[in-house]
Symmetry: C2
Subunit: 212 residues, 2 copies
C-alpha cells in the first residue's frame, strides 16, 4: 500500500504495459525503449517514461528498459503472482463471453464461479467454471471479493445489495444502471451503449486526429 502516490491515470495503464511487455518477452526481445513501447500501446513516450518513473529508475539511459527486469518488476507491483478470484453474475451472452475468455494468459484474475437465475443454466459449467443458481449466491460466494455484473439493468440494484451484504469489495458493472454502494466499495462502470454513442459523437463533432 506504500505507493499510494501513483496517479490513477498511470495505474490504469499498468495492466496494458504489462501485457505488451509480456508479448515482447515471448518474442524474445531483451530490451525496449519508451519510443518502441509507445508505438505498440499508443501512449506518448514521455508519458510512459513518467509512468515508469513513479516506481523508480527502471531503465538505463542510452539503452532503454530490460524487458525481463521490467516484467519482473511489474509482476510484483501488479500482484501477478497472487490470483484474485472473481465471481460472475449473469450468464447471458456477455457473461458467457467472459467465461470462455476467462483471462487465460498472463493474468492475475480468475473467474471461479458464476451465477444465473435461469435454472437450465445453473448446475452447468462453462469453460470449466461452475454455474450456480442465483439463490445460492450467499452460500457459495465464500470470500470472493470481486464481482462482474453482466445482468439486466433491472436486476442490478437487488444483486448489488446482496453482493454488498456478502462483503464484496469491487464490482465491474456492465449494466447500464449506475449502482449505489457504500463508500468503501469500488465500482467501475463499463457501459457499452454509452461507449458506442460516445464514439459516434466524437466522429461527428471532433474532426480528424486526436485519439481519445
Amino acid at each position: 500500500m506504500e505507493q499510494s502516490k501513483i496517479p490513477q491515470a498511470t495505474a490504469k495503464r499498468l495492466p496494458l504495459y504489462y501485457r505488451f511487455l509480456n508479448n515482447l518477452n515471448h518474442q524474445g526481445k531483451a530490451r525496449v525503449s519508451s519510443k518502441e513501447l509507445s508505438e505498440a500501446v499508443k501512449v506518448d513516450s514521455a508519458t510512459i517514461r513518467r509512468d515508469f518513473s513513479y516506481f523508480g529508475a527502471l531503465g538505463k539511459k542510452g539503452y532503454g528498459y530490460n524487458v525481463e527486469y521490467l516484467l519482473g518488476f511489474f509482476r510484483k507491483t501488479l500482484d501477478q503472482d497472487e490470483v484474485t478470484e472473481v465471481a460472475l453474475i449473469g450468464v447471458g451472452n456477455l457473461g458467457t463471453a467472459f467465461l470462455n475468455y476467462n483471462f487465460t494468459k498472463n493474468n492475475n484474475t480468475k473467474i471461479v464461479m458464476a451465477f444465473d437465475s435461469d435454472p437450465s443454466k445453473s448446475e452447468g459449467n462453462v469453460g470449466g467454471v461452475p454455474i450456480y443458481h442465483i439463490a445460492e449466491l450467499e452460500d457459495r460466494i465464500g470470500d470472493v471479493k470481486v464481482a462482474i455484473l453482466t445482468i439486466p439493468a433491472s436486476e442490478a440494484d437487488g444483486i448489488t445489495t446482496r453482493l454488498v451484504d456478502c462483503g464484496i469489495e469491487g464490482i465491474l458493472n456492465f449494466t447500464p444502471a449506475r449502482i449505489s454502494v457504500p463508500e468503501h466499495i469500488r465500482v467501475h462502470h463499463i457501459d457499452l451503449a454509452v461507449e458506442l454513442q460516445a464514439l459516434v459523437y466524437f466522429l461527428k463533432h471532433y474532426p480528424l486526429d486526436e485519439g481519445l
Copy 2:
C-alpha cells in the same frame, strides 16, 4: 460542428445524461435538479452543471432543469434522430451479446450487419441482423462508417486494414491488440482484461472511498 469547444470529458458523459433523462421522462418527472441527477448518474453536481453550461443556460435558478426541454435539447445535440449504422466484426460470444442487445432503446446506433469467418455462422441471422462471411466484407459494407471489433487479437490488424480501405471512420475495438490506423480514423479501445486488472489494482492499492 460549431461546438468543438466542448471538453472531451464532457462529451463522454452526454450519452449517460441522455439515458437518465429519458428514464426520468418515462417516470413522468417534469423537473430535475443537478443534485438529483448527480445521485442517479454518480457524477458530481457541479460537474453536471458545468457540463450543461457549455450548451448555454438550460436550467432555471431555484428550479432546476425541465426534463422534457433538456431531453429535446440533447436529442438534437446527440443526433438522436439520425441513426448511425454500425457493422459488427466477429460473431463470437461477445459479438452475439451485442447483436442481441443491439442498443434497442433510446439509441441512435444500430448494428445493420455482422461478419464472421466461420461459414456455419455466416448466412445466418442473429437478432434480425444478417451475418455474412468475412470474405464479403468489401462487397457488403457499403457506406457504413463505424465498426465494432469483437474478434481474436490475432486477426485485428488484418481486419483493421481492410476496414480502413473500405473507408471506415470509427472503430470500437474490444480486441486486446492496439491497432494502428491513419490519423483521421478514430479508435476507442475497450480492453476487458485491462479493466478487470485495473479494478483489482485499485482495490489493493487505493484504500476505501473515491470512485474512479
